[in-house]
Amino acid sequence: MFDSLSSKLNTILSHLRGKGKLSEADVNAALREIRLALLEADVNYKVVKELMASVHERAIASEVLESLTPGQQVVKVVRDELTELMGEERVGLMLANKPAVIMLVGLQGCGKTTTAAKLALTLKKEGKKSVLVAADVYRPAAVEQLRKLGEELGLPVFEQGSSPVQIVSGVRDWAEENLCDVVIIDTAGRLQIDQSMMNELVQLKEVTSPDEILLVADAMTGQEAVNIARSFHEKLSLSGVVLTKLDGDARGGAALSIRAATGCPIKFVGVGEKLPELEAFHPKRMAERILGMGDMLSLIEQAESAIDQKKAEEIADRIRKDRFTLQDFHDQLQEMRKMGPISQILDKLPGGGRLKGSANVDEQELDRALAILRSMTLEERLNPSIIGGSRKKRIARGSGVRVRDVNWILSRFKEAKRAIKFMGTGRGKSKFPPEFLQMR
């Protein structure tokens, strides 16, 4: 998501890196470029100004100018400042009361309803039962949307009452009676300058005294992010922020702006339309990600939640014993697809942004490989040597490809098996053979 910014900073600073020693003019040139990149990333201009001032001060200090690796020093300074702005370690939800109340607020279309459902799912995974409260009585079908999401999650949706205040006033008791741990209130979208609607939120807050009041903000928001966040914060004293739609290519400068304007931690980020696609926000990683240093930890977490550990161990075991079959290959591909689109995975690898441009991983190719494997019988997958001409024709028909595509999978499998065997004996580098990503 921050690709362009990272690659820009990379270009500027690799230019610096080449030199042995920096002059103040070099630093200034780099900082000008960084300023432009940050503005283009929608970081608020005031934030940029302050950031630049403190980076400049530190960058021309002797620690940088006299260091042997001034380029890296500048990177470090920018990264440190970004990290500091973003907040140090990640902050989770503080749910002290029983039942605890979370209230979601924000502009129209920022993703409150989806976020409510995503939060409920996250809490459900932690063993907490939520009730979703439909306090948006204005947008047509908003209640219906929440009701359907509740159904999907197998969680109750509370909607008794005609005004938002009326609806929420009964919910705490209801939650207690129905053994819910958390109450998640989905409020209507509103402009931060709409006084009567803002006052409604204040009333909702008074009635429910929430543990968490989270501002849901669109990562694509421009310079206004600061004013929006500040207005909501002044009225409600927010406890945190959820940044949505980070799966796009918005560089997400709003993250920095909101944080600077409110001092509130960003607690979660939305990275897709589907309900599991909500991730914890890690300020430090985010700052490093802005600088193109990758986001390995998030990736590992994601892999852990998607991949069935037992199955993974089984496969590892088979590899060791050289009994890796097409069936295992099929399972592995399937697990991999569960982690989400390859492009999303690449985003998190250091330099993955650049890789994405050049490698051009075709998701469809992976899906096609999976389709071919699915068109084989179990027997064929366990013992590929029985696949002769007529079986190949049948498999090709079944998966809608040509026979040579089937041949291609089979030969790839042989190669991979060789590579994996190598890896299993501990002689080679342990990595997934890259040719699997770079199909044809």
């Binding site: 929608d42 219906e144 949307q145 359907k148 402009l191 929006i228 739609k245 799966d247």
Partner: protein, 305 residues
């Protein structure tokens, strides 16, 4: 209240702060100095005008200053002209067909930009002009929970026919059925597509498929292919416009949610790069708050005191 009044009211918050802050940026007496110019540049950037265009506009001010010196009161006028000249020449409104075929309007945009509401507003205007016109809504957002219900409620309010399938259905199939319906009834067909981030390859393909379905059935592209853009969007709006333009060859942009304090400065870059007309702007929640975009009036409203 004339519509320009309403436009001005809608833009009240936006306008106040823009004019006020520029006036404030100018110190007392004497000529414009470097620092003041820099502050004006910042104000433009804070309106989501891209940094390069903000620099251009300020350079224009600066060159005026050098050649003949400008008074402070002229600053606003020069900026206004600069922005007007960048926005004018692209105005156009919805064009309805006058042959026997239905006018097909494909509406696309990222999640939460205001597609469904915009369709409802446009339809309400058409309904007001012609109480007997046949209006059809195609519920091609089969992904988001209750998207179909939302459109259904609007269809009821503006007396439009709703063509829908089940949630999860192929949007192109919905469009196909809606086309059949509209071909029999004539009038206008609005296609409400699911919100999609422009970076999602498969979802952009889905949008192109909808487009192809229409071409196959009617022998021509949808008459209007509109991008709905949220005015609070920053520089990412450019990426959105480029991607959607590449996918479905847009005919225009509708800028929504201008009633906040956002100024939508990103449209300057969109016009510069894509020369796409901004067709409508939304400055509020009622149907009367959707206006045809007229650059002069828009910029005047933005800067008026």
């Amino acid at each position: 209240m004339t519509w320009t009044d309403r436009l001005r009211n809608g833009l009240e918050q936006t306008r106040n702060r823009l004019t006020d802050s520029i006036t404030q940026a100018l110190g007392q007496g004497g000529k414009l100095d470097r620092e003041e110019l820099e502050r004006i540049e910042e104000i433009l950037i804070s309106a989501d005008v891209s940094a390069p265009i903000a620099t251009e506009l300020v350079d224009e001010l600066s060159s005026h200053r050098k050649t003949r010196g400008i008074g402070r009161e002229e600053v606003l006028a020069i900026l206004k002209e600069g922005i007007k000249s960048r926005l004018s020449g692209y105005e156009r409104s919805l064009s309805l067909r006058n042959d026997s075929q239905p006018t097909v309007i494909l509406v696309a945009g990222v999640n939460g930009s205001g597609k469904t509401t915009t369709i409802a507003k446009l339809a309400a205007h058409l309904r007001e002009d012609d109480p007997t016109m046949s209006i059809t809504f195609a519920a091609a957002d089969t992904f988001r929970a209750a998207a179909i219900d939302q459109l259904d409620i609007w269809a009821d309010r503006v007396d439009a026919d709703l063509i829908k399938h089940r949630i999860g259905a192929d949007p192109s199939a919905v469009v196909f059925d809606a086309l059949e319906h509209a071909r029999r009834r004539g009038g206008v067909l609005f296609i409400d597509t699911a919100g999609r981030l422009h970076t999602k390859h498969n979802l952009m393909e889905e949008l192109q498929k909808i487009n192809r379905t229409i071409v196959k059935r009617l022998g021509h592209k949808p008459d209007e292919r509109l991008l709905i853009l949220d005015a609070t969007t920053g520089q990412n709006g450019i990426c959105q416009a480029i991607s959607f333009h590449t996918a479905i060859d847009l005919t225009g942009v509708v800028l929504t949610k201008l009633d906040g304090t956002s100024k939508g400065g990103v449209i300057l870059t969109i016009q510069k790069q894509l020369a796409l007309p901004i067709m409508y702007i939304g400055v509020g929640e009622t149907k009367d708050d959707l206006h045809e975009f007229v650059s002069d009036q828009f910029v005047d409203a933005l800067f008026s005191t």
